[in-house]
Amino acid sequence: MPTSIPRGYVRMPDIEFQSPISHGPISTPDGSVSIEDETSTTKVVVRAAAGTAAAADLGVPYGQSRLRADGTLVCGTRPDEWTLFAAAGRAAEVIAPVDTDGFVNAIDITHGRAMMRVSGPKATALLAKVCNIDLADDMTPDGAVFSGSVAKVTCDLLRADRAGEASYLISCERSFGSYLFAALADASTEFGASLPAGLSIH
């Protein structure tokens, strides 16, 4: 640390966004499952009462999701509540077009939620070790949005398959992020993943 005091900070563009997850992706040698940190994704929650223009614009009911033309993923995360996912650093652009007529609020929760993606042919089997929700295709198909307990942490989940393979986006309160990542990594050892030092829930 310097001994004389400059106005010692750097400007925003140089300030890095810090994820609660300090480990790189975990994957099995055979590619059956991978776990990646996607916390930097822009996340905006929109609360909009039924009948508002915002609710109509968002256009998907609770439990479903759609990819908007602008690349924003719109998820019906709860009754009268949507979570919008977009590329990192786009919160303002996602919030601006929300029609705030009526009882509507849009809040940037990017900093408040950790997010990780579990993918691969064994992704569903991995989740079944830590989540009691029925992950069958006729309950939680591709595009399904649901909430539940994952390794005892309440999470919002989105099934967003990639290239025909099961893939889940899992988000939780930020402070649980490092624990949840470790818990998922621990569950992945059954499928052949080996864990880096320091990543353990035991």
Binding site: I5, Y9, A128, D138, A151, H202
Partner: protein, 952 residues
């Protein structure tokens, strides 16, 4: 090499090309792949596997399967391994357990001589008194004799246990012909199926059957294993069925863990456990060499082991007759083939390490080394009982049958009746079809709206009627006990004589008898002994079996390791964005609820002093933070806080206390108004979740007309308290867009601005420490940058981070109470010393009638600040305040510390109102018995009661 190994048998499951070396009590043995531990040892001529629990009698193979009560062994560091089903692995170190000092010479066998002292109710009668002997003698003696193996937790290589969830449409418990038939038919009907078999292979009794049985088995197993809709779990047990078909499956066959608990929610449960062969009660029936017919057939046909050389066979059924044929094929001489259907019987077996002489019902005594019993079957109805069924005894067939089952539980196979293999498979198939139909109809109803939206709705499957033809109930003689007395419960060493005695002593209902004698309470859990126990009781009381009933079968169906129930360790831990920094800088971790926090960085007293003298920063992220938006937030605040909220201007912050509807203080914190319809509420760290749920409760169920959106932002905003006389000087270097001068930004105000280049920070001027302080709430992804910028820019100001312990010291000096520490579950608002904060004239606030009642009382304890007269003595938190020399309690110390600022001990405490006035003397009873005096202070604050420092 193995003296008892037979030439190749057609259905054998051993691979004779392999030779697996292992040890038994330290001596080398070999077996083949496919052997169980028991079959390999039996092939090598081992007769005695264990000593019985109470009388320490020698015990050998009785059932040669998973349920054998005599075959619990120690394998390496794993106790209680079932040698009857555990497959042999090269290098296993197997030893007998429960044998002190060893298997051959066992001092406990002397108990046989004093057996009458160990009879019914022995423990109740003997170890009652004198009480002091329990600790000094009884416990130690009983430990020596206690059953079970040893765990070597220091050196164990035993891995972690595991769990998983499953949602099969149809779960089939039992992989015999009916169970496999059910699984195949259910899968063909489109259901997802989980097929669970407790033995390591599918097939049930077909496995040790004739060529036709083996052919059917091969076909069924191939169909099961090739169907993608069937998940097969062998060496796994369905241990319980709970409400709404919540089913516990204990899987032992997965490499991820020694045992894995599968929690399955099944649409339908098909119970197909087959029948369990029942022992026969006669003198010496637990002598090694007395085996059930199934045991000898398994030994001969699966593992090519000759179970003896000269056999007496007592048979009451075709399976017993088949054993005679198998024995003859194996070259065993049949000394006597007794037909129980014709009244022939065995009275007694003599022999210690092995059967020697057999006394027959006609009075003859013959010499033999093997006695084979095929006298009947027990229906393992356990899972049906757990589903609410009360099976009924049928004296004609001499066993119990299912009675009334709920729609989502179906039974098939031997438990429902007798039949040829083809009939059993057909009944299984019909049951599987029906089970699938019910499950799929249910699934159709449950199909999620999301799935419905994604793909078109198929029609609901038409409901099938139960048109299954019942399996026959073939007549079978009731063979329970010979004319002699013998063992009923092999696990617990309970004999029929013990049961007769218990009945005579008045414990003559089956449930009382069970608890008094411990019959059915061992690892067999009644599978082998329940019906015999009921039969002995019926005989003793001259009653019908139907009227005796059975003990209630409860989960688990088979013992479960506690480790398997615990599973993997999921203890969610919450970490702030700064916790890595804290740990990298020497912080002692403190677990506070789910949060891990810095307790201190080495010297909490120095950290506290530094806050009073210079400036310190503390990470207070765990403070609950709720973002409240909407036109009706003020109404909500008025409802949930005891104080007023109507006139809070934008930019102001107010402290509030919450009480529950019963008037008990539930939480406190500050709430700031950020915009016209936008507030930020803070709660205690531990109360954050509950307060959020409480707000939603009132908003959703009590005032749904109010428009308020509550969003939890606790982890999203990293909260840093910057405290100390030089904190303004520090923040001036880092904050942009906010005028920090005392007039522009006074105490209890909030501003939004940029801190260290990070925009959208919320800064409010409050303080728990009593110093000039600002709480900065930073978007968490940028929190570390702000924290490090504060430290770098405050170096010349003497900045130090401080932890939770210093904060506790500082807040106690200032007299701020902590909900849950200085209050408890009975502390009503007046007892917290809230004084004028509580507004009783509001039209609606939580607990208002209780608050009115509480404020009308004069007898409630009051929270006060106390200083000990001897400044060096720091009472412990929870030390009692008593009435002089008596032990009448007048209060307690709730917080206490040595104050670095005052150089003396300071406390908060709850006291009787008679002691609440400033200057009152209180007597504090210390834990070492000393009584010291303390003085009640005028203010809660020991330091700076006027608030000069915080208002600077």
């Amino acid at each position: 090499m193995n003296p008892n190994r037979l030439p190749v048998r057609p259905g054998e499951v051993i691979d004779r090309e392999t030779s697996l070396a292992f040890t038994w009590n330290g001596r080398p043995h070999t077996g083949h792949r496919g052997d169980t531990i028991a079959s390999a040892l039996a092939a090598d001529g081992v007769d005695v596997f264990a000593r019985s629990m109470k009388y320490k009698r020698r015990r050998g193979i009785m059932t040669a399967d998973h349920w054998d009560p005599n075959l619990f062994v120690q394998v390496g560091d794993e106790p209680n391994v079932r040698a009857g089903s555990r497959r042999l692995v090269a290098g296993m170190e197997v030893s007998a357990q429960n044998v002190w000092p060893n298997l051959r010479f066992d001092i406990g066998a002397a108990n046989q001589l004093v057996g009458r002292f160990l009879s019914s109710g022995f423990y109740y009668k003997t170890f009652m008194r004198p009480k002091w002997l329990w600790h000094h003698l009884y416990q130690k003696v009983l430990r020596k004799f206690a059953p079970g193996g040893r765990i070597h937790w220091e050196t164990s290589t035993h891995g972690a246990y595991d769990k998983r969830y499953a949602h099969p449409d149809v779960l089939v418990a039992g992989g015999g012909p009916a169970g496999m038939g059910a699984a195949i038919a259910a899968a063909e009907a489109g259901a997802s199926v989980m097929l669970v078999e407790h033995e390591p292979d599918l097939g049930g009794h077909l496995r040790w059957g004739d060529a036709d049985d083996l052919a059917v088995l091969a076909d069924l197993a191939a169909a099961v294993e090739s169907h993608p809709g069937i998940e097969v779990l062998v060496d796994s047990t369905v241990t319980g069925r709970y409400d709404h078909n919540w089913i516990a499956v204990m899987q032992r066959s997965h490499e991820i863990a020694p045992e894995r608990l599968i929690k399955a929610r099944a649409g339908s449960l098909v119970v197909a456990p087959g029948l369990i062969e029942r022992p026969y009660v006669f003198a010496g029936n637990d002598t090694p060499g007395v085996m059930l017919s199934g045991a000898v057939r398994r030994l001969i046909n699966l593992w090519a082991v000759r179970p003896g050389t000269r056999a007496v066979v007592l048979s009451a059924n075709p399976e017993g007759d088949a054993a005679i044929a198998d024995l003859e094929a194996a070259g065993v001489e049949i000394v006597a083939a007794l037909d129980a259907r014709a009244g022939e019987d065995i009275v007694e077996v003599e022999g210690r390490g092995r059967v020697g002489n057999v006394v027959l019902g006609d009075g003859r005594t013959v010499s033999a080394d093997l006695v084979v019993i095929g006298t009947g079957w027990t229906a393992p109805t356990s899972l049906l009982n757990m589903a609410g069924d009360r099976p009924v005894y049928d004296p004609t067939a001499a066993r119990y049958f299912p009675n009334q089952l709920p729609d989502d539980v179906l039974a098939t196979g031997g438990i429902t009746g007798n039949g040829t293999t083809a009939e059993l498979v057909e009944h299984g198939r019909a049951t599987g079809t029906l089970a699938a139909n019910r499950a799929l109809r249910n699934r159709h109803d449950r199909r999620s709206s999301t799935a419905r939206a994604r793909s078109p709705e198929g029609p609901i499957p038409e409901s099938l009627h139960d048109t299954r033809a019942s399996l026959a109930r073939t007549p079978h003689p009731e063979c329970y006990r010979s004319s002699s007395h013998g063992m009923v419960d092999f696990s617990e060493d309970v004999s029929s004589k013990d049961l007769v005695q218990a009945s005579r002593e008045g414990f003559d209902s089956i449930e009382l008898m069970k608890r008094y004698t411990t019959v059915t309470m061992g690892p067999s859990q009644g599978k082998l002994e329940t019906v015999n126990a009921a039969a002995v009781l019926a005989e003793t009381r001259s009653m019908d079996m139907v009227d005796i009933g059975t003990t209630v079968w409860r989960p688990p169906f088979a013992p479960i390791s506690l480790g398997a129930l615990a599973g993997r360790i999921f203890e969610p831990i919450r970490r702030s964005a700064l916790q890595d920094w804290h740990e990298d800088h020497g912080a002692s971790p403190l677990l506070a609820g789910q949060w891990v926090r810095p307790d201190h960085y080495g010297d909490p007293v120095a950290e506290a002093r530094n806050v009073r003298e210079n400036v310190g920063i503390i990470d207070v992220t765990p403070l609950g933070k709720l973002d409240l938006r909407g036109p009706d937030v003020t109404k909500l605040l008025e409802l949930v806080y005891v104080n007023r909220w109507q006139k809070l201007d934008v930019g102001r912050v107010r402290y509030g206390t919450m009480v529950a509807e019963d008037g008990v203080v539930s939480d406190d914190g500050v709430t700031g108004r950020l915009g016209e319809d936008h507030y930020l509420m803070t709660t205690t760290s531990s109360g954050a979740g509950a307060i959020w749920e409480m707000l939603e409760d009132y908003l959703q169920t009590y005032r749904p007309d109010w428009n308020v959106h509550v969003t939890a932002v606790t982890g999203g905003l990293t909260s840093i308290n910057v405290a100390g006389p030089r904190c303004r000087e520090l923040l001036l270097r880092l904050v942009e867009g906010v005028d920090l001068s005392p007039d522009a930004f006074p105490y209890f105000h909030v501003r939004r601005g940029t801190v260290a280049g990070v925009p959208d920070c919320i800064i409010w001027r409050i303080g728990f420490t009593g110093e000039l302080s600002y709480e900065v709430h930073v978007p968490s992804g940028h929190a570390l940058h702000v924290w490090e910028s504060l430290l770098a820019n405050g170096e010349d100001l003497g900045i130090m981070p401080f932890g939770v312990e210093s904060q506790r010291i500082l807040r106690l000096e200032k007299g701020h109470y902590i909900v849950g520490q200085d209050t408890d579950g009975l502390t009503k608002a007046p007892s917290a010393g809230l004084g004028g904060l509580v507004k009783l004239d509001k039209p609606d606030t939580l607990g208002l009638p209780e608050l009115r009642a509480a404020y009308a009382r004069t007898d409630l304890p009051i929270l006060v600040a106390i200083q000990t007269d001897d400044p060096e003595v720091v009472p412990m938190e929870a030390d009692q305040i008593v009435d002089g020399d008596s032990n009448r309690i007048l209060g307690r110390i709730t917080s206490s510390r040595m104050s670095p600022t005052l150089g003396r001990s300071v406390c908060l405490g709850q006291v009787d109102p008679s002691l609440a006035a400033a200057g009152s003397k209180v007597t504090i009873l210390l834990i070492d018995g000393r009584r010291i005096l303390g003085t009640v202070q005028e203010h809660h604050a020991h330091v700076d009661p006027e608030g000069v420092r915080q208002n600077a």
